[in-house]
């Protein structure tokens, strides 16, 4: 890992301002404003359909916002000339051509941002895939694909990193590895936005928490503050999002059900 400690960039921030995305009748992201600062892991939480992945896609310029702005390092992502050197992201571990080897998958990405092929070997080593680098990525387990996706995010040694549910499909060993990796990356002065549904894991990994519900910001807080107000991070999450669960059994949380039928 390249040492970023002295190279900490105060510009390494994610900043959303009144960000809104509408798909037809659905308001996926609703006037969302928050900031993610460097130096710690920021957990990005919310029920399915809350808009976490959409927010990340908007940040990466993949989707165009209906209104508002999503800036990385003070600029829209699409204006970055070598984006992989500033921002790394894992959105979908399955986004790979099944016939291409892990090494070539990463090399295709590295070439676009003029990153040396030696860096590909480095990140493969870092995520523990060096031994299967020449194997077809289509044959990988979900856990291996997650590691490959993390390798892709780290290729350009960026100061800002986003991970959408990277823990899915990993074995306990892999879960612990991700936890350590996230904390190390944050300690190096990077900005980390990490989404997950595993609350106990998040409590161990994140320092700050952003909670979304139905595209809106519910809470922006520190883990310490939430766990002092509630019994645990999981309790905090469940209480705060009780009215915003869009998919799932309505029985235990009557407000969500009532909310839905009256809309």
């Amino acid at each position: 890992m390249w040492n970023r400690l002295e190279a900490t960039n105060l510009m390494d921030v994610i900043e959303l301002n009144e960000l809104t995305k509408r798909y037809g009748d659905t308001l996926a992201v609703d006037r969302l404003s928050f900031r993610v600062e460097p130096g710690h892991v920021t957990g990005f939480l919310g029920p399915n359909g809350a808009g976490k992945s959409t927010t990340m896609r908007l940040l990466l310029g993949l989707d165009r916002p209906t209104s508002g702005t999503a800036h990385v390092n003070g600029r829209p992502y699409t204006s970055l000339t070598k984006p992989m050197r500033e921002v790394g992201a894992l959105l979908d571990a399955n986004a790979l051509h099944p016939g291409r080897s892990a090494y070539n998958h990463l090399l295709c990405l590295a070439r676009t941002n003029d990153l040396p092929s030696q860096r590909v070997a480095e990140v493969l080593e870092l995520v523990g895939l060096a031994g299967v680098a020449r194997k077809r990525a289509g044959g990988f387990s979900l856990g291996m694909k997650q590691r490959l996706g993390i390798a892709a995010a780290l290729l350009g040694d960026p100061g800002v990193l986003m991970f959408d549910e990277p823990v899915n499909g990993l074995d306990p060993d892999g879960v612990r590895w991700i936890r350590g990796l996230m904390r190390t990356l944050a300690a190096e002065g990077r900005t980390i936005l990490l989404s997950s549904h595993l609350m106990s894991e998040m409590a161990l990994t994140a320092d700050r928490i952003v909670i979304l519900g139905r595209g809106r910001l519910i809470t922006e807080s520190s883990v310490a503050e939430l766990t002092s107000r509630f019994a645990s991070l999981e309790e905090a999450y469940l209480s705060l999002t009780a009215g915003d669960v869009e998919y799932g059994s309505a029985a235990p949380s009557a407000p969500a059900f009532d909310d839905r039928i009256t809309r």
Partner: protein, 256 residues
């Protein structure tokens, strides 16, 4: 831009579908040799035959194979979801599609030129001094037709690429290209006269001989082209430009 070109070249090189498409296209050489032996045998019995040139007869095989390569260069990214990775690495969508256009055009032009020239040479060697109907002319006279054929392959590959980005579906992309090559020329011929012939002359199969300025068969009848070669060339290039333009517009406008 150089890095993006290198990346797109690597992407094409590292999937097996590229190899299959090139294999199918270069099957023209073997089929052309078989054809030349066959009509050569007929000529030995009858004295002479009027057979079609294999590099013209098997041209649709090369056109379709490499058009599929063009379609896949776009749609495999949408099918696998790697389009999001590609656009995260290269957020300027025009740069991405330009690099794909350059790589697909260069590869398909090189492959088709190689296949067509090799088929031409092999069939003339097999023909020897027999009169097979396609081997009486000098290479210099045939060259414009060979170059026009190769260009049509690259154009169809780019049409495939553009329509692939526009439809985001391999099936829809391939059907569009095949319609443009085989279905539409057959349909427009039945337009009321003189529009049938006028529109026909702008169809891709008819543009190839018109670019070379040679007589050709269209709808069963021999005819001189209606278009001067340079107009035919511009019309051919316009197919690629319009398709890639539509693909770019679609990629730019829609969420990935």
């Amino acid at each position: 831009m150089r890095g993006v070109l290198a990346s797109e070249w690597l992407k094409l090189r590292t999937v097996s579908s590229t190899g299959y498409a090139i294999g199918a296209a270069t099957a023209m050489i073997a089929l052309g040799a078989v054809w030349s032996f066959y009509v050569g045998g007929l000529a030995d019995e009858r004295g002479s035959v009027r057979a079609a040139a294999p590099e013209a007869g098997f041209l649709p095989l090369v056109q379709v194979s490499l058009a599929v390569l063009g379609v896949l260069a776009a749609t495999s990214e949408h099918a696998t979801g790697t389009i999001r990775l590609s656009l995260s690495a290269v957020p300027k969508r025009g740069v991405l599609i330009l690099a794909k256009t350059g790589v697909v055009a260069a590869l398909t032009l090189a492959v088709s030129l190689g296949a067509i020239l090799t088929t031409y040479a092999v069939s003339r060697v097999i023909a020897g001094d027999r009169s097979l109907g396609f081997n009486g002319t000098a290479f210099a006279n045939d060259l414009p037709g060979l170059l026009a054929s190769a260009l049509s392959v690259a154009v169809l590959a780019l049409v495939g690429l553009g329509l692939g980005f526009a439809t985001r579906s391999t099936a829809a992309g391939i059907v569009s290209v095949v319609s443009l090559l085989f279905v539409l020329p057959g349909v427009v011929r039945y337009l009321p006269s003189p529009w049938g012939q006028r529109v026909s002359s702008f169809m891709i199969p008819d543009l190839v001989p018109q670019m070379a300025g040679v007589r050709f068969r269209s709808g069963g009848a021999w005819q001189d082209g209606m278009l001067p070669p340079w107009i035919a060339l511009l019309a051919m290039l316009a197919y690629a430009a319009v398709a890639v333009g539509v693909g770019y517009w679609s990629l730019k406008r829609r969420d990935a």
